[in-house]
């Protein structure tokens, strides 16, 4: 489903050449929950940005849902991001001027959906994170945990196949972080593939599959989860 083969990413300036990723190869199957760990500057975020089509790579190949993204233009990459990927960021990245409803509505607007189609989907997404009652509030009126739940609703509203989370609990206290992790587990249990970058070893250990990156390469990999089956998915929903 996500297949990176020998991906390298080199950042060049006039004086320095930095290899953020070197011959990075990774396969992620549908329904997996993968955590990515590693020290600062090891290439975790670069990997996530390449996976999320926010960054290009220097060499290698990357198939996302069987689509080779190497030669895709900006418009096609944006469309793929919009339809297949949901993002969750450490700093939530909500639009401060828009209320919760309008924040969650953003991906659907870029998909060109009519207002009558968008409304029930946005309300359902907000309901799934327990914030429908506050849809008219601005992000600044919410706690950090609530803001991250809105960000999760925004990531899910387009029903993406991937959820890419970059330190989603990094700005939250441990209790709130646990709540967000439970929510992510529920989402994963319903079949959404999640790739999460984290510094938190405890959280990483909770995940079925952990990849440890060092100097732009996979240094260690623990656990490999069998993809969820339709039956498992049904059981989780029940």
């Amino acid at each position: 489903m996500l297949k990176m083969t020998n991906i390298s990413k080199v950042f060049r300036t006039e004086l320095v050449e930095t290899h953020a990723l070197s011959d990075f190869t990774l396969n992620v199957e549908e329904g997996e929950f993968v955590t990515i760990t590693g020290p600062s500057g090891c290439g975790k975020t670069t990997f996530l940005n390449i996976a999320g089509l926010l960054e290009t790579y220097t060499s290698g190949s990357y198939l996302l849902d069987n689509v080779d993204v190497t030669e895709l233009g900006d418009f096609q990459r944006a469309r793929l991001r919009n339809e297949k990927i949901g993002f969750i960021f450490q700093s939530f990245n909500l639009m401060p001027d828009l209320n919760l409803f309008d924040n969650v509505d953003v991906p659907l607007r870029y998909r060109g959906m009519k207002a009558s189609e968008r409304r029930p989907r946005v309300e359902k997404a907000l309901e799934s994170v327990g914030l429908l009652g506050r849809k008219k509030h601005l992000p600044a009126q919410l706690s950090g945990g609530q803001q991250q739940r809105v960000a999760i609703a925004r990531a899910l509203v387009g029903e993406p196949r991937f959820l890419l989370a970059d330190e989603p609990t990094g700005n939250l206290d441990s209790n709130t972080a646990q709540g967000v992790m439970e929510l992510l587990n529920e989402i994963n249990a319903q079949g959404t593939t999640i790739i999460m970058v984290t510094h938190d070893q405890e959280l990483a250990q909770q995940s079925p599959r952990n990849i440890h990156i060092l100097d732009g390469r996979i240094a260690q990999e623990s656990g490999k989860r069998t993809p969820v089956t339709p039956a498992e998915t049904a059981a989780a929903v029940a």
Partner: protein, 435 residues
């Protein structure tokens, strides 16, 4: 998405009210100053009779001083004007000149007053499409018989008859009874194309009478008179037979062929006169249509051109400031732009969003610029109002308002292209991490 982007632009304004207001003011000041000068140019340099300006021709015959090399005189002598009028070779033609006349109201409560009038031929009214409120102009017979008929301006009719239909009423001019045949509706072409050399921005005349009265009734002439050689004798007869020019002469020619025919006629006429000892310079007769005449007379003063350049420079400085402010504003939104890209916005949609945001600022700047332009024009009226009757014609009309708004939006979008390009090309990965 258009209204969504407009809403985002309004929200963005609210988020950075000081920065946004600075941009709006920069655009408003630049546009306001530019539009003041634009309005002056537009009004002073506009076509006063657009539907017909290419068919109306000002006649110039070169009977100037043979010892000098200057352009043909702007006006005609009495001899020439009457000869052209008598020949009647154009579709329509009229000699005309200004005169000063005392009006003696029949109403004893109104004291006699002096006005500037115009002697003209019957063709004057249909040629220049003069609008009538009541009645009409006189006919060719009235010209021939030198009938005592008069056409009043709307203001004069207001003054003498309280604005009522005065057709058929009598007006006493310089002691003679004139019968009113018509009352003009509002008519004040700017520039006053039919008599540019006596003041392109003067008001229209208070009344009009058959042209022959200016000579036969010995009414006091007024306006520009030039003589390149001394009169041969004294008195009116000598003046009428002199080479003094004082009469404006216009013809209406409906086609290029008519124009060529008429010029040939003029050349033949002056050749004939040359044989009689007049017109001692080389053939150089002119037929200028309205627009050519305005350019030839340099109706638009040099000062307005200098002002235009200065206003354009001020607008450029204001827009340069706007570029800097837009750059600061858009790059300040890098995290939001990055998030939008992550959520599915492509560069094209981000470009449109920010063009609309720049246009929104331009629209506000244009609206405030209109207010500034209005006050600027009021200031100009105060400054030069005594010299020319600007108060009647310097104003912001619908085309000027539309030009202002369009210019403001267009300029701001152009000024915003670089900031927008920068905003659309940020690396989302960097800004999503560092919010």
């Amino acid at each position: 998405m258009f209204f969504y982007y407009v809403r985002l632009a309004a929200l963005s304004y609210k988020r950075n009210p000081i920065l946004s207001t600075l941009m709006v003011l920069a655009v408003a000041i630049g546009i306001g100053a530019y539009m003041v000068v634009f309005t002056l140019n537009y009004t002073m340099g506009g076509d006063p009779i657009p539907h017909k300006s290419a068919q109306l021709f000002h006649v110039q015959l070169d009977n100037g001083d043979p010892d000098r090399e200057n352009d043909p005189p702007d006006q005609l002598t009495y001899i020439d004007a009457m000869a052209l009028q008598e020949a009647g070779r154009a579709f329509r033609q009229t000699a005309s000149s200004k005169l000063s006349v005392i009006v003696e109201p029949t109403n004893p409560e109104i004291r006699p007053f002096s006005v500037i009038g115009r002697g003209a031929f019957a063709d004057f009214f249909p040629m220049f499409d003069v609008p009538f409120l009541y009645g009409q102009g006189w006919n060719a017979e009235a010209d021939e018989n030198i009938e005592q008929v008069v056409v009043l301006s709307r203001e004069t009719n207001e003054r003498l008859f309280g604005g009522a239909n005065s057709v058929g009423e009598t007006v006493v001019l310089a002691g003679m009874n004139f019968q009113v045949t018509g009352v003009l509706d509002y008519w004040d072409p700017v520039p006053k194309f039919y008599d540019v050399n006596n003041g392109p921005f003067d008001s229209g005349e208070a009344l009009y009478i058959p042209w022959h009265h200016t000579v036969q009734s010995d009414l006091p002439r007024t306006g520009n008179t030039n003589c390149w050689k001394p009169l041969e004798g004294t008195g009116q007869e000598a003046f009428l037979n002199s080479e003094c020019v004082w009469i404006q002469y216009w013809v209406e020619l409906r086609s290029r062929a008519e124009e060529e025919d008429y010029l040939s006629f003029l050349n033949a006429y002056t050749n004939e006169q040359r044989n009689l000892g007049r017109f001692q310079r080389e053939q150089n007769n002119k037929l200028f249509d309205v627009q050519e005449r305005m350019i030839e007379q340099e109706v638009l003063p040099d000062e307005t051109r200098i002002l235009s350049v200065l206003a354009a420079m001020l607008l450029a400085v204001c827009l340069l400031n706007t570029i800097g402010l837009l750059l600061a504003k858009f790059l300040g939104k890098s995290a939001e732009i990055g998030a939008r890209q992550a959520l599915g916005a492509h560069k094209g949609s981000l470009f449109v969003q920010h063009v609309i945001e720049a246009g929104f600022i331009g629209l506000l700047g244009g609206l405030i610029g209109l207010v500034l332009a209005y006050f600027g024009l009021e200031g100009i009226k105060i400054l030069i109002g005594d010299q020319i009757t600007v108060s009647d014609w310097v104003h912001l009309d619908v085309p000027v308002v539309l030009v202002t708004i369009t210019l403001a939006i267009g300029c701001t979008i152009v000024a915003g292209l670089y900031p927008i390009w920068r905003a659309c090309n940020i690396n989302p990965a960097i800004h999503l991490k560092t919010q």
